[in-house]
Symmetry: C2
Subunit: 139 residues, 2 copies
């Protein structure tokens, strides 16, 4: 089963329409080894026969986040990055951000077991751990 077929299946599983744009976008993220910006995704979609509008891409990415196909990562360059959700990675957010090239990768196996001290009356919903440094390519 190739990438496009797998993407198509994943999109279909949401119950919503499996449009070509959604499938193409998801297949890009499926093959990405790191979190991509909207820009980077758009660039990879450039070679396709029909160019898709940047707003449409924003909406597709937002839709995919809502459907938990992908997740967003907030960088400190004010740019969202998007990453495919795999079973392993889901809900265990640990990311590495390169201070030189700004690339973001997902760290699996980051065993952060928290119980951090929240003030009384506070509700914990999510823990986001970002390790910053320099990746091997930029060192």
């Amino acid at each position: 089963m190739n990438l496009i077929e797998r993407a198509k299946e994943l999109v279909s599983l949401t119950g919503d329409r499996a449009t070509a744009n959604r499938v193409r976008t998801l297949s890009v993220l499926l093959s990405a080894k790191r979190a991509l910006t909207h820009r980077e995704i758009a660039d990879q979609l450039l070679d396709a026969k029909k160019q898709l509008d940047r707003v449409t891409l924003y909406r597709i990415l937002e839709w995919m986040s809502k459907k938990s196909l992908i997740h967003k990562i907030a960088g400190d360059d004010r740019v969202w990055r998007f990453r495919i959700n795999t079973e392993i990675r889901a809900h265990q957010h640990a990311h590495f951000k390169c201070n030189r090239c700004a690339k973001v990768i997902c760290l699996k196996d980051s065993k952060y077991n928290p119980t951090p001290l929240l003030p009384v009356g506070y509700l914990l919903q999510e823990i986001e751990l970002t390790i910053k440094g320099v990746c091997s390519e930029c060192i």
Copy 2:
């Protein structure tokens, strides 16, 4: 010793000029109980006799970050937040971000002792831990 005097002293310690704008800005952050956005800081400076330009405020905040008087926190709403640096908080970044009102507070005593699994060849520089949830006022 009042707030303004303390702010003035801290600014002077950097070796650079202790202008009224810098002192005023720092005193706002000194009395803040949470991380503030550029907007929020500007609002608090409104009542002063002479209004300062937003660009100037951006530059003051950038300068203060460089001088380690304050630190920046990247929110996922694409907005920087600024927080005073105290000895305790320096270099131990753990923040709580409310998912409703978007306020950010600094969590002290968050004993995260990491050694997270970075890929080989990666250099670790900083660990940023953000706990998301709902603060007591928004619950």
